[in-house]
Symmetry: C2
Subunit: 348 residues, 2 copies
């Protein structure tokens, strides 16, 4: 007993993914309907061929958001969207959500109304129903945990483990903007704290700020896939940064990746802001996180289908696992990509 | 804008149920598959006749539990069980759960392991699969939100709104014990704080303590219903206290209730401890909460089926709504029952 009390491993030692692996490695799946448990963007429940896809994710004050610069309406919206993004990443359609909120008495009914306005708006825009949840007190801070439930078709669901050598690696949208938006907001917060009379200078950065505060999930892309009869071989949404997600996908598919820097889409505003911050734009794109774009692989026979899809970029190829995960820079060098998400960004 | 900043309604003004009503009254259900949204023990999703039942509930440190006397293994177990209870209350079978945990760095990996041991144990005992979730940091405290997903059959699901005049009111197990267990734990905590050398005197109260720290959901009862081809007309689980749940059921069914005090099951240990605490046992049973027993109504034709079911007590009748919700005391008086849950118990 005394020995047990002595042993104390700090949670940060294992990191988020190590921790989840560690805690769930003994998980046994016993129900026949459980087709896919922990380890993908969402779990899959198979009821006689009818597939239900489920994902849960929480946003915690002081960890995932700072109420100093996060409008509560945006926060409610984002809490829903980041979960819907996980359902889309399975090539499935979200239909319902439940929301669990804990908040301290620092928040008023009016604050909670704003939060719910954002939740309702996301439900409306993404055509999902808020079907349950609870609202409770917390001694401190605000927690929002959302569970999204979706529907998928057996031959269309995409997992992280389906990429194979020769597949093309694709990504939607643009990367790095949400991270740079966060840096801008943090900078303005520091300016404000130093001198509360200063007005924030954010208008010219609308795009970057919005990518951080009010991200969107790629519902449109899943619809485009269906319209073009395209089923990716593997897919994952980009919440922790392209590099980190690429490693998840490669690890689970037992493959490597060769990415062209010139193929990684970066918005001009993000490009410019990275340079203003003395950062390398490609590093922001690789490790920035919170983009909620889709990273996916396609069979080479489908390249023609993808070439003309709006906002989809082919940025490389799946290679043998032994060849690792590498970036071919614009300068002609080949670097191994590091599997770091935005949590580790500061240390890089 | 200035006006908006002035208006600040304290969350407690509306109460938990008032607050949820207020925030979700504008909720629109748009998906055909959403059969039942907010307002019952669980939501119901109907996919071509295949019914999925979903419930979410959170436990928050300092609000729902005190780590001073709550072993983390029990806490993990309880967090799962209280959600499974909601699924059983729909007369459905839970199959999967997702778990979202936020915790401060005061908790070590070993602490989290204990918590997960309890989660895994509950999964094993109730035959559900842990299929997803996330573990994240919190600036302070421990927060566990669980979503339970179950399966039901169309003609067997029981809602809160199906009770009709003439139905018998039944309850499982015994009531008030979990509340009295909590009072004992609180008392011992105060004794310990006053004098840390004092050893807690809890052995003789094992039953009450266990009802508080490690409640069980009535999986057995749902199996008995199926075996006896009994489908309650309405059902709800008792998390906030019999009185509060009876009001929910009556309100949604547009009926009243007439309850015999002599029919309300109270365990002898609870009876005795209530008296030791100078409390009225029936008040503890009505308003104590956290019993996780089932309150249900049955058609009068099914009374014979219920009479011989173990651990089921017939305690009254459903009456007209205009006749209210009343208790016929052992002393022969008739009192209106107050709709108070355990949160309001101290004020009574």
């Amino acid at each position: 007993m005394a020995e047990k009390q002595v042993k104390r491993t700090d949670v940060n030692v294992l990191g988020e993914f190590g921790l989840i692996d560690h805690l769930t490695k003994t998980t046994r799946l016993t129900n026949r309907s459980t087709k896919k448990g922990i380890g993908d963007d969402a779990a899959v429940i198979d009821n006689k061929g009818f597939l239900t896809v489920v994902s849960t994710d929480a946003l915690v004050e002081g960890i995932h958001f700072d109420v100093a610069y996060t409008p509560l309406k945006h926060l409610g919206y984002k809490a829903v969207v980041v979960n819907l993004s996980d359902i889309y990443a399975m090539n499935a359609i979200p239909k319902q959500i439940t929301v669990s909120i804990a908040l301290s008495n620092r928040y008023s009914v009016e604050a909670l109304e704003e939060l719910y306005q954002g939740i309702h708006l996301a439900c409306k825009i993404y055509n999902v129903d808020l079907v349950g949840g609870d609202t409770t007190s917390s001694p401190k801070g605000l927690y929002i945990s959302v569970t999204a439930i979706g529907q998928g078709e057996k031959d269309k669901l995409t997992y992280r483990d389906g990429a194979k050598v020769g597949d093309a690696i694709c990504v939607t949208g643009s990367l790095g903007a949400a991270y740079l938006g966060l840096q801008l907001l943090e900078r303005e917060k520091q300016v404000f704290l130093a001198n509360p009379d200063m007005q924030p200078e954010l208008e010219e950065h609308n795009y970057l700020i919005e990518r951080q505060l009010k991200p969107e999930a790629r519902k449109d892309m899943i619809a485009l896939f269906a319209k073009n009869q395209l089923v990716p071989t593997a897919m994952i949404d980009i919440s922790d940064g392209l590099a980190s997600e690429l490693f998840h996908l490669c690890k689970q598919s037992n493959v490597g990746a060769f990415v062209e820097e010139s193929g990684v889409p970066i918005h001009p505003d993000a490009q410019m802001q990275a340079i203003n911050f003395n950062m390398d734009p490609i590093t922001c794109a690789l490790s920035g996180g919170e983009d909620y774009e889709l990273l996916f692989t396609i069979d080479s026979k489908d390249i023609e289908k993808v070439k003309y899809l709006p906002d989809v970029y082919i940025m490389g190829d799946i290679v043998e696992q032994k060849d690792g995960v590498k970036l071919h820079t614009k300068g002609g060098n080949i670097h191994p990509i590091k599997a770091q998400g935005w949590n580790h960004f500061e240390e890089s």
